[in-house]
Structures are given as structure tokens and as C-alpha cells.
């Protein structure tokens, strides 16, 4: 056995290894590729339209993106576990009208916030419980929530917007903190929290494990059902945050709010490299994914490209992102 170890190439783990630049190059591209694409897009838009690369416009883009971006972070967790969440758009509406009805004065600001976050988390809890304990595919479970939550929002508000919100509530949508709009601050803060949660905690590692191999995760002692419920709950919680800020931004609880948001959130995650096959995805990737969608929309708006064309382009980009992802998977 002894001579075997000397004969066989013992690959160094710590020490210096011959650097394979080709491999290194492809690693950089696969790791930071989406970021490079984003920078390229920003550069392209700056050249194509003079109004793009201005402080106010850039702030505007990031603020628009922050709502969908926060939702997409939760969706990223869900997709990493091989699940899907179709309910986020409708949950936004439900949270919006319910929180708004407590934000018309007479209550402390804490009440609508707690109600908003609570409703968001509760819908996630229900999604996760139905999917795991009921053994119903997440697609169906959240499709049910998508339909039901929209109905509840309409029922609760009688189909009408709920306005006259307090100034302190409106701050969440239009206020500035440290010179930046509040939604952007929240986008960055929740991005950081979600990133740390996903990368540096047991919760995050377990999320990857379940998506990578659910059976193996169970054998490693992970309580898969409970974990999945928590993941959906976290996604709902983040949706609640986005909904509160959106409501404040447009100064009213709207039962029609957030239509198609679930798909934009999924698109952001997927463009950012989250794989629907599970076990793969990052929060910074998703944030960039959301920004790419935002830059695309904004740049094309500035260039007066019709919104019909914008939709077509967005569709192409989503499919291309998944195409690249699936090719990458096939190679390995």
C-alpha cells in the first residue's frame, strides 16, 4: 500500500497546482458570465441612448427592479429545492389590500407591516404544507394559491383600490434613506441577508442538498418536509416585503397588483443561473437577473421601442438563459 501512494498522483489540495488557464477561463465565464452580460448590456444601452446612463435613470431602474428582485430571491430558494412558486403575484395583491386597509390611519405603522409580512409568510407556509404533507407537486399547490389569493384580494377589497394611506406607510415606497430610495436599500439588505442565509448557514446548505438529491438529504438527517415548508414560508415573507413597498409606492392597496410578477421573478432567477433541475443557483445571480430585465425594459422604453417588442425580447432572453444552462449541464 505504501508504494502505491507514491506511485499514484496525489492531487494537491492546498499547495500550488499547475494552473490550467483554459479551465480557469471557462470557470470565470460560467461563474461571472451573467455579470459580464449585464455590464455589456449597460454599456450597450449607454451608447444607444444618452438618457440611460444618468444618475436619476439608473436609480429609477434599480428601484423598479427592487420589488421583483426581492420576490425573486425567495423564488430562487424555492427553485433550488426543485420547486416552483406561482403564487407570488397574487400574494402581492392580497398583502397589498390587507395591509393598506390597516394603513389608513388609526393604527400604528407596525400593524400593517406585521399584517403584510404575516400574510405573506402564511401563504408560503400553506404552499409548503400542501406541497409536502399533501404530496402535491409545488406547481399545482402554488397554482391553487395563485388563484385563491387573487380571489381573496378582490373579495376583501370589493375589487376597489384602498387609498388614503398614512405618510409613514408611504415612506416604504417613496422615502429616501442614506440618500437612496428605501426600496433599493431593502433590495440590497434582503439580498445580503438571503445570500448569507443561502451560502453560510445550515438552512442554505440544506436547501441545496434537497434540490441536489432529496433522498440523500433525508439520509443525511435533514427533515426534508419541514425544511421545504420553511423555504416556501421565507419566499412568502419576502413577497410580503415587496408587496408592502409596492403598495406604498403607488399609494394604494390594489387587488389587481402583481399580475405576472411570479413569472418575472422566476425569469429573474433563471436568467441569473438558477437551474430548474435543482441544487443550483445564487442570490447575486438572481439580483443580476432582475437587473437585466430592468435594464432591458428601461433601455427599450427610452429608445421608444414598443412594449410588444419588449415582450418578445424578454422571451428570447429567458429561453436563451435556460438554453445556456442546459448546455452547461449536458457538458458535465
Amino acid at each position: 500500500m505504501k508504494n502505491q501512494q507514491t506511485i499514484e498522483k496525489q492531487a494537491p489540495v492546498n499547495g500550488r497546482v499547475r494552473v490550467d488557464w483554459k479551465e480557469k477561463g471557462s470557470e470565470v465565464v460560467s461563474r461571472y458570465g451573467i455579470f459580464l452580460i449585464f455590464l455589456g448590456m449597460v454599456a450597450l444601452m449607454s451608447i444607444l441612448t444618452p438618457h440611460f446612463f444618468t444618475y436619476f435613470n439608473l436609480i429609477n431602474v434599480v428601484r423598479q427592479v427592487s420589488f421583483i428582485g426581492i420576490v425573486a430571491m425567495g423564488v430562487t430558494f424555492v427553485i433550488i429545492t426543485k420547486g416552483i412558486d406561482l403564487s407570488s403575484g397574487s400574494v402581492i395583491a392580497l398583502v397589498s389590500v390587507m395591509a393598506a386597509s390597516f394603513a389608513q390611519g388609526g393604527h400604528s405603522l407596525v400593524v400593517p407591516i406585521l399584517i403584510g409580512l404575516g400574510i405573506g409568510a402564511l401563504t408560503g407556509l400553506i404552499n409548503g404544507t400542501i406541497a409536502t404533507k399533501g404530496m402535491i407537486p409545488p406547481f399545482i399547490a402554488t397554482l391553487g394559491m395563485m388563484t385563491a389569493a387573487r380571489g381573496m384580494a378582490l373579495l376583501y377589497s370589493n375589487g376597489r383600490p384602498i387609498g388614503n394611506l398614512t405618510d409613514s406607510f408611504l415612506f416604504m415606497g417613496s422615502g429616501d434613506l442614506l440618500g437612496l430610495p428605501f426600496p433599493i436599500i431593502m433590495f440590497l439588505v434582503m439580498g445580503l441577508i438571503s445570500h448569507l442565509l443561502l451560502n453560510n448557514t445550515k438552512f442554505g446548505k440544506s436547501t441545496y442538498a434537497i434540490g441536489g438529491n432529496e433522498q440523500a438529504a433525508r439520509i443525511c438527517g435533514i427533515n426534508v418536509d419541514r425544511h421545504l415548508i420553511l423555504v416556501y414560508t421565507y419566499a412568502g415573507f419576502l413577497t410580503g416585503i415587496a408587496a408592502l413597498m409596492l403598495t406604498a409606492r403607488i399609494s394604494a392597496g390594489q387587488p389587481s397588483m402583481g399580475v405576472m410578477y411570479e413569472l418575472d421573478a422566476i425569469a429573474a432567477a433563471v436568467i441569473g443561473g438558477t437551474s430548474l433541475t435543482g441544487g443550483i443557483g445564487t442570490i447575486p445571480g438572481t439580483m443580476i437577473g432582475a437587473l437585466i430585465i430592468g435594464v432591458l425594459n428601461n433601455g427599450l422604453d427610452l429608445m421608444n421601442v414598443s412594449s410588444y417588442w419588449q415582450q418578445i425580447l424578454k422571451g428570447i432572453i429567458i429561453v436563451t438563459a435556460v438554453l445556456i444552462d442546459s448546455r452547461k449541464n449536458r457538458k458535465s
Partner: protein, 495 residues
């Protein structure tokens, strides 16, 4: 045995980005012979066969039946008379056996495209009859055992009436009984002039059935010899390029007190009244055929699928294990049978794969301590001689043997008192296998208890201090290391 050359592969090379997988390989197969292709995992056997079957393209020339062979894909290979039994099964579970076998070439009524189901079943039945396979063609694939599925796969390859059949580890999932069936099939194919390329890690089989052996190592051609010119040791030496005198390094360990005992464990439809105990320092082997219920027993002990009745005692105290997390808390580890299905997290890194079963000890205020993780993982990589360029490499890019070592490391990081190993060396090359066996002995010497399930008789006989024989959900008997041999184990199983 013919001397007529059927297949000649010359100077076959293949490069993947960054790796030279094959370097000028030669392979000549004669008509009506069984030709073994041997080599450790990663030697290039599968790559070479994928080139021959048209899945990959490579440089070099291939001549088949006297003509140069240029393939556009597997379909083309089948048309030209080359068929392949893949290492991994790819059945469509919801379809019947017959539908699976004739997938894509079902008999139809005239040119209507309407499948003639009666004829389909009839053709399959005829095929099974010639091959002596006792399976009903109308059973759904999902209702078959893995061994039966493998037989269906073999029948499928034969049904193409090919001149050359590639068998990539055809016996990895079947029992001795079916191996005998398979060998009969191979002999009858041989007599019809069909040539077979046989890939296997099991040397006994190779010596039993093959006429010639070609050995590859690290993508290089080592040589071709007639089987009767070789023996175990010389073949091993060719394969690993070093001498491994004794395949099983069983080193004695002091056997101490009972750590786990199981009383009357039962699970409906799976196993009944299982009682046994295992001691510190002991390697307890569980022998039996595939489907005997061995995996079910240990999985129920580990809490994957808890038993319906019975008691489990740890160091004399009764314990309840309802979930694997309970077992892990009691310092039990389980290396599962199927690396891909229940072991590895394929899209994740080596490091993440290692820490997944014992993350708590790496946590600082709820956060995973990267430094601690790295330190532990590096020491495991060194201890188990895991070949990986770094800890962030995805586990799916490692060879089978190294993947298995990573999964072992996952449990060793928990410092378990009892380690359950289900087929610990399946699909693992000779070198890594010896290392895993050595590690097992060392763990036993450290006072850990080991339960090992293995379908490989030499492994069971070579490694175990005591052997339990299981058959159809029952423990049939127990043998000490000294009294055990292959015949007695089978005797007990079938008595």
C-alpha cells in the same frame, strides 16, 4: 472459436477539454469470442465503447466486418450490427416489458403506424423463450426487480440480432443465479458467431467466460492476452501497474462489547423477525441475494423507513429511530447502496457533499465556519487519498471510486460508533476498493462497529468477522469467519 477478425480498432484517441481520455488504443475482437475489456475506473473503457457505439467520435480507424466503420450515432451502430447493454438501466417504468424492448421498432399493421400489440407480445415471448428468461412480456417495467430489469436489458441488446454486443458491467445488479443465465446466453450467442465485448470489474466472471482480455490504464493501451495466459495476480498487475498481492487486507481487530442489538424487527412485506447484534471492533457481513431484504433491514434501522415492530438497543438501552436524524444523533452512519440515487449530491461540490450529514459541528452562531470545514475536509481528502484538484470541484466530475470515498468521508466526519455500509465497493475500481477495505479494518481497530452488505462473495468472505445470511426477508443463519465459504452461504440461504 473463430480466428476471423470481426472488429479492429486502431490508434483510437479521444480528447476532452483538458484531458486526454484515450491515447492510441488498439482493440481487436474475433468472431464468436468473448473479449474482456479491463481497467480501473477512469481507464477509458466506457469512452472507448461509446466511440464504438457512435455516441462519441474519436480519431483513429475502426474496421468492422472488413469494412471501415463510420457511425453517425447509436442508431447507425445498431443498424450495422453493434448493440450495447449499458451500465446504467434506462427503462420506461410505466410501459410494459415488451413495449420497452421494441421501443421505436414496434411491429405495426401495414403502414398505418398502428402498433400490433398482439404481435409485440408474441415476439417478446419468443425472444424470452430462446433466452430462457422467465418474465411475462406484459408486466410493467416498474414492477420488475432490478435484476429482472437487467435481464430485459440484455434481451433488448440480443433482440437487435447484432454481430457484436457490448456489455458494460452487465452483472453489476444481478445475482449469481442470473449471472448463470447470462453466461448461458453468452455461450449460445458465441456458438452463433456473435462476438461480445465484456466489461466488468469482477475478475472471476472474466476468467469464467472470456477468451481474450485487453487492458487499459489511464487512457493507455496496456496489452491484449489470451485468458489462459493470465491469472488473478498478473491481470491485476496489468490493470493497476503495481502489484496487489492480496485483494483483501483483513487485519484483525479486538472485538469488544455489543454496541447495537436488534430484536424481532419486522416490516410488513419486506422482512420478518430480524434479530442480531454487532460488537465494537467487529465487521458484520450480511450476505444474500439481491432482493433478500438486506437493504430494507438496515434502512429501517437507520430510520429511512422505520420498522412496523421490533426493538433496537444501543449499548443495551432501547432507542427509537424514526428518522435518519435520530440515527445520526446516536452516532450511526449509513453509506447507501446506490451512490447516484441516494448518496451523492451531484450538482454540489466535494466539500458540500462531505459536510451535509454533520453540519452542526461546523456552525458558529448559526453560520457555517468555512475555515473549520476546509480543515476537516482537507484532512479527510488526505486520510482517504481522495483524488480531487480541490474541494470546490463538483462531485459528479470525480471517478466512481473517489465519489465513494467522499461519501465515506461524509460519515467519518461524524465520528460514528456504528457504520453501516451497503455495497461499499460497488462500481469502484480495484485500487480504491483495496483502500476502502483497508480503511474498514482500520475503523474496526479503532473500536467502531461495521455492518457491511455485499453481493460480492469474495468481499463478504474476505472482510467479515461474522456473516449473517438473509433470504426472502428472513435471517437464515450465521457463520463465523472461519467456517464460512461460498457453498455454505448458499446452502444456508436456500435451505
Amino acid at each position: 472459436m473463430g480466428e476471423e477478425i470481426l472488429l479492429e480498432m486502431k490508434d483510437i484517441s479521444k480528447e476532452f477539454p483538458g484531458v486526454k481520455a484515450l491515447d492510441k488504443i488498439q482493440l481487436t475482437v474475433k468472431k464468436g469470442t468473448v473479449h474482456a475489456l479491463m481497467g480501473e475506473n477512469g481507464a477509458g473503457k466506457s469512452t472507448l465503447m461509446k466511440i464504438l457505439f457512435g455516441i462519441y467520435s474519436g480519431s483513429g480507424t475502426i474496421s468492422f466486418k472488413g469494412e471501415e466503420l463510420k457511425l453517425s450515432g447509436p442508431k447507425d451502430a445498431l443498424k450495422k450490427g453493434i448493440s450495447m447493454i449499458h451500465q446504467e438501466l434506462n427503462p420506461i417504468p410505466e410501459m410494459t416489458v415488451a413495449e420497452n424492448i421494441f421501443l421505436g421498432r414496434e411491429p405495426v399493421y401495414g403502414k398505418t403506424g398502428w402498433v400490433n400489440k398482439k404481435k409485440l407480445v408474441q415476439q417478446t415471448a419468443e425472444l424470452f423463450e430462446t433466452l430462457n428468461i422467465p418474465i411475462d412480456p406484459t408486466t410493467k417495467m416498474k414492477d420488475l426487480t432490478i435484476a429482472s430489469m437487467q435481464m430485459v436489458e440484455i434481451a433488448m441488446a440480443v433482440s437487435h440480432s447484432a454481430d457484436l454486443i457490448i456489455m458494460d458491467e452487465p452483472t453489476s445488479a444481478i445475482t449469481d443465479k442470473e449471472v448463470k443465465y447470462l453466461f448461458e446466453i453468452i455461450r449460445s450467442l458465441k456458438s452463433k458467431g456473435v462476438a461480445i465485448i465484456y466489461i466488468s470489474h469482477k475478475m472471476d466472471e472474466v476468467f469464467r467466460i472470456c477468451d481474450e482480455i485487453t487492458v487499459l490504464r489511464d487512457g493507455q493501451y496496456i496489452g491484449t492476452k489470451r485468458t489462459d495466459e493470465l491469472d488473478h495476480d498478473s491481470l491485476t498487475q496489468m490493470m493497476v501497474g503495481r502489484e496487489i498481492k492480496q485483494v483483501f487486507h483483513k487485519e484483525p481487530a479486538e472485538i469488544k462489547e455489543v454496541i447495537l442489538s436488534v430484536k424481532n424487527l419486522s416490516k410488513e412485506g419486506k422482512f420478518k423477525n430480524i434479530s442480531f447484534e454487532v460488537r465494537k471492533g467487529e465487521i458484520l457481513g450480511i450476505a444474500g441475494l439481491m432482493g433478500a431484504g438486506r437493504t430494507e433491514v438496515i434502512e429501517s434501522i437507520f430510520g429511512v423507513d422505520p420498522p412496523t415492530s421490533g426493538e433496537i438497543y444501543l449499548c443495551g438501552k432501547p432507542i427509537k429511530i424514526k428518522h435518519p436524524s435520530d440515527a445520526i444523533r446516536h452516532k450511526i452512519g449509513l453509506l447507501t447502496e446506490d451512490r447516484k440515487l441516494t448518496g451523492a449530491f451531484l450538482p454540489l461540490s466535494v466539500k458540500e457533499n462531505m459536510i451535509m450529514s454533520g453540519m452542526n459541528k461546523f456552525l458558529n452562531f448559526g453560520f457555517v465556519n468555512g475555515g473549520k470545514v476546509k480543515q476537516s475536509c482537507v484532512s479527510m481528502v488526505e486520510k482517504l487519498n481522495i483524488k480531487t484538484p480541490n474541494l470546490n470541484k463538483l462531485i459528479m466530475n470525480l471517478s466512481g471510486g473517489n465519489q465513494q470515498k467522499v461519501l465515506l468521508a461524509r460519515w467519518l466526519l461524524n465520528d460514528p460508533d456504528l457504520l453501516i455500509l451497503d455495497e461499499p465497493t460497488r462500481g469502484v475500481d480495484v485500487g480504491a476498493k483495496a483502500e476502502i477495505h483497508k480503511l474498514m479494518c482500520k475503523l474496526a481497530q479503532e473500536g467502531k462497529a461495521i455492518i457491511m452488505i455485499s453481493s460480492e462473495m469474495p468481499e463478504i468472505l474476505g472482510m467479515s468477522d461474522r456473516i449473517l445470511v438473509m433470504h426472502e426477508g428472513h435471517f437464515k443463519g450465521e457463520l463465523s469467519r472461519e467456517e464460512a465459504n461460498q457453498e455454505r452461504i448458499l446452502q444456508i440461504a436456500f435451505q
